[in-house]
Symmetry: C2
Subunit: 547 residues, 2 copies
């Protein structure tokens, strides 16, 4: 064996019982402890310092080039790397090609910076490694989850003290459930609504037990539908597909000029369906903060209509829910307390780490329609939270929300929420001021859309030109906005997203818009102006408007 | 204002923009950094040290007394506590009443100790806070997820190098998906199987779009079923309920003396269903490590039968999947490569923190049956992983598994797996040796069940007594085992779970058994003997057998 081989041999990593066994114990001696802390320090600050050097949102490397690096599909038999090297590689090799969602210049999606203590809280949850599916693997954490569910339920529904005293630790009733995210929350709400509409009755076991086809026969219907405005999140279509209702049976209701459910259209649709005895309505969904425009539906009006017609009223407040903590803006969600079920995301405006959703129910008994038991856990009448949840095993996200609310208070959260809404308003004013841009949807909450629309196009559009020419201009603008957004994203200094709307103020079919979500407290009007400047610059260099 | 009030006033916490804003920035100066590290140190070692003092699994406090402490349902307006106090309270106030699942004496469930580096990896995932629903909030992490999915796919299906080269970074195809846990994995697999059976065809949009009722009409059936042995996990019933098939349409197949699907019964059931043209079979599910007994179905035989009948073959390997990494025991899963879909949990025998599941598909195109798009993300043809997943937003668990496999290698995991299986075998031998206990199901993997059955009962049962007396004794034994398990759990030094089986070697109806899962590398035969000793002691003190 030559020297080189010996050197190679001595650094070769081998799987070793003693070393492995040791990783299951927090070591006692000072040196070993210091090493673990050193790794944590690297994680806490290494990432930060690295991103200080590389201010961009992501490194300039094409997806294709990047994916070439990750093509080996064999798991190594022996260890490939030591922990220290894995951590270093995550920080130096992987992080720069991940997306710096914490950057104040990243204003395109509902993912943003989180307070540093959230990372600490997530670490505690991982270290405790409780499994909330059952009391036997969580004990006090199941109890805390029930408490925090009651607290947020109270924020939404504002029932009496005695109502909450009765239900907060009641093992028979359920005020809500922690889930993976907004999609699972919407799915859970519609699952419950489906089972409530097609419930068990004399000689019939209910849709959950017997299936959709048998339930339709029993109830004499041929179709079940869910009504939501065309701003509804795509998770609703997915939920209808999964639940066996069929994604095409999500009926899209038109919206008014503020992108809110058009009440006349909703009323008309319900009354038409009611004439047809072969169609059942599982739910009407109201939106409190639509994904694309942040618009909020007239929740009180929808609630009234649902009550009159005995329809389950679900509110998708995945985005907007936490606005209830802001004294200045909670009125925007008026009527949410009349909902039968409400979706709220933890990883959105509760600023929790990925991923955490929640679903709440007005009626503490309604989740009985989705309960399951097993012989070895989740016995009837136990506190086991897994009895009434879509998921089985799941992590203790409730500990994070509970702690965060203690650290922040509703007023702390309100500071973040108010900052977002007010900064978005300032940004809208700035867009209006600039002749180069057109505001498409003003921010009702902290989301707005706009587009690049240089003045020569705007002048022409304002003139009395024919529809053909209008459409032609619109197509050109769509192409411009698509291109500028893409170049800006790939350059990596800042990021706004884009989507397609059919706004009333732009009568053409499909309008490509730029979408801005202001949730990062470090995002201010100065930064937003820089983003506009960059877009103008990209446009000018790319489209040579004077050529 | 008196002195006391002044003191109170000065310590009152208020929500404050400057302080809050600061929590979004990793601070630059040494003192602030030191504080953050100090908190992490507290989290890493405070918990450990505390649990060293309190060796038990959980503190002795009744559920009722505990829940009395968590009844306040108002969220505080102002901050209630500083971060430091929240952390201290989590360690000193909450952890002792959580469950010490990391204790080697906790052998009752599939939740256990995890290597400490898993906590570091989870912290990195939280600090990066990527959202894998779309490339724009994850970039390289989506690419790494595709790579690790290919690696585990290869471990299961062992296809050719060229197959993996073609699919590893292919944006059109999908080898699997990270999900919340085993339940969502099973649900996703059956969702895909349902949509494949009731697929779109001329003039029909498919079950996903049109719903179950329309699909049944189109395909001329009245019922769709899923076949699995009666050891199947309850998530399968739940999935059938959610998918609109109906939970009663999970057809339970009887098991052989080793608690494996009885092939004669399965064949018979399939051929009977085939005679009835009004029933469709969505899937046959094989189990690779049943929750209650760890038994593994004859996967090759089921695969063959499914292939002959053109039925989707799903394998629930939530527990057993990682055994494929053990050279000594992977043969126990022979036939898994013929599955159409496979569930594996990350938080079980991959020793990842709560919660992480995965589902894999043999056919890289089959997940097209569950794809959804939106205008602002997940556009067709993009790398956005959210196009084909039940969840929307989700965290980057793939980074944890990828890193863990680099640190451990398959051989490292094999050490853990072999230890579990071999320790369970030793434990079974010990139970057989003790006249006080009866081994009910020997460990095929690392799970076994047994019961307390003092020799006087066993002698009587072995004699030729009538069925009535046998049942009477069995009832007495059931009561004894229930009580001893409960007292042991509540005492808090050790924990085995209990379930109810209908084993062939005990012909009576329902047999309460004690269930032991050996996955903690610190659990050895000495500890397991102590657990048996404690059970014997509890029995003797409680039932006074000599009185």
């Amino acid at each position: 064996m030559n020297k080189q081989n010996i050197a190679k041999e001595s650094t070769k990593l081998v799987a070793n019982w003693k070393a492995l066994h040791r990783t299951f114990i927090r070591l006692e001696d000072g040196a070993a402890r210091a090493t673990l802390v050193k790794y944590m320090e690297q994680i806490l600050f290494g990432l930060h310092d690295f991103l200080q050097e590389h201010v961009g949102i992501t490194e300039e490397i094409s997806l294709k080039a990047l994916s070439e690096r990750y093509k080996n599909t064999k798991i190594s038999e022996n260890p490939e790397r030591k922990l220290a090297d894995v951590i270093t590689n995550l920080i130096r090799g992987i992080a720069p090609n991940a997306v710096n969602v914490a950057s104040p210049y990243f204003v395109g999606h509902m993912t943003s910076a989180i307070p540093f203590f959230m990372v600490h809280l997530k670490t505690i949850v991982a270290a405790l490694n409780q499994n909330v599916v059952k009391l036997e693997t969580s004990k006090v954490v199941s109890i805390i989850e029930k408490q925090i569910l009651a607290k947020v339920h109270r924020l939404i529904f504002d029932n009496s003290e005695s109502f909450y005293n009765k239900h907060v630790q009641n093992t028979e009733t359920t005020l809500g459930c922690f889930v993976e995210g907004g999609t699972t929350a919407n799915l859970t709400a519609l699952w419950v609504a489906r089972n409530s509409l097609l419930a068990p009755r004399d000689g019939f076991g209910g849709v959950e037990k017997e299936g959709i086809s048998a339930a339709f026969r029993e109830y004499g219907i041929e179709r079940a539908v869910i009504l939501v405005s065309r701003m509804g999140h795509y998770s609703l279509r997915k939920a209808a597909g999964i639940l066996g209702i069929g994604s095409r049976n999500i009926i899209a209701i038109d919206v008014d000029e503020k992108h809110r459910t058009d009440m006349t259209m909703l009323e008309k649709t319900i009354s038409e369906i009611n004439k047809d005895s072969k169609t059942g309505i599982i739910s009407v969904v109201g939106i409190a903060g639509s994904t694309e425009t942040g618009s909020v539906d007239p929740l009180s009006n929808i609630a009234e209509l649902c009550a009159e017609n005995g329809i389950h009223f679900h509110v998708d407040a995945a985005w907007g829910g936490p606005i209830l903590m802001s004294a200045a803006y909670r009125h925007l969600l008026n009527g949410i307390k009349y909902a039968d079920s409400v979706t709220i995301d933890g990883h959105k405006q509760f600023y929790m780490p990925m991923s955490c959703g929640m679903v709440y129910f007005k009626n503490p008994e309604i989740m009985n329609t989705v309960s399951y038991h097993a012989k070895y856990v989740n016995r009837p009448g136990s506190v086991d939270l897994g009895i009434k949840s879509l998921a089985g095993s799941r992590e203790a996200n409730s500990l994070i929300l509970d702690s965060a609310l203690k650290i922040m208070g509703t007023k702390g959260y309100a500071l973040l929420i108010d900052h977002g809404i007010e900064t978005a308003k300032k940004f809208a004013a700035e867009i209006i001021k600039r002749p180069f841009f057109q505001l498409v949807t003003p921010p009702e909450l902290n989301i707005l859309t706009y587009r690049i629309c240089p003045s020569r196009f705007r002048t022409e559009l304002a003139a009395n030109i024919d529809a053909n020419r209008k459409n032609q201009i619109n197509k050109t603008l769509n192409a411009i906005n698509r291109t500028v957004q893409q170049i800006q994203r790939e350059t990596g200094n800042s990021f706004v997203s884009r989507t397609t709307l059919n706004p009333r103020n732009i009568p053409e079919e499909e309008t490509v818009v730029l979408r801005c979500v202001v949730m990062n407290p470090m995002t201010d009007i100065k930064i937003l102006n820089e983003i506009l400047d960059e877009q103008e610059k990209i446009y000018k260099s790319r489209f040579k408007p004077d050529a």
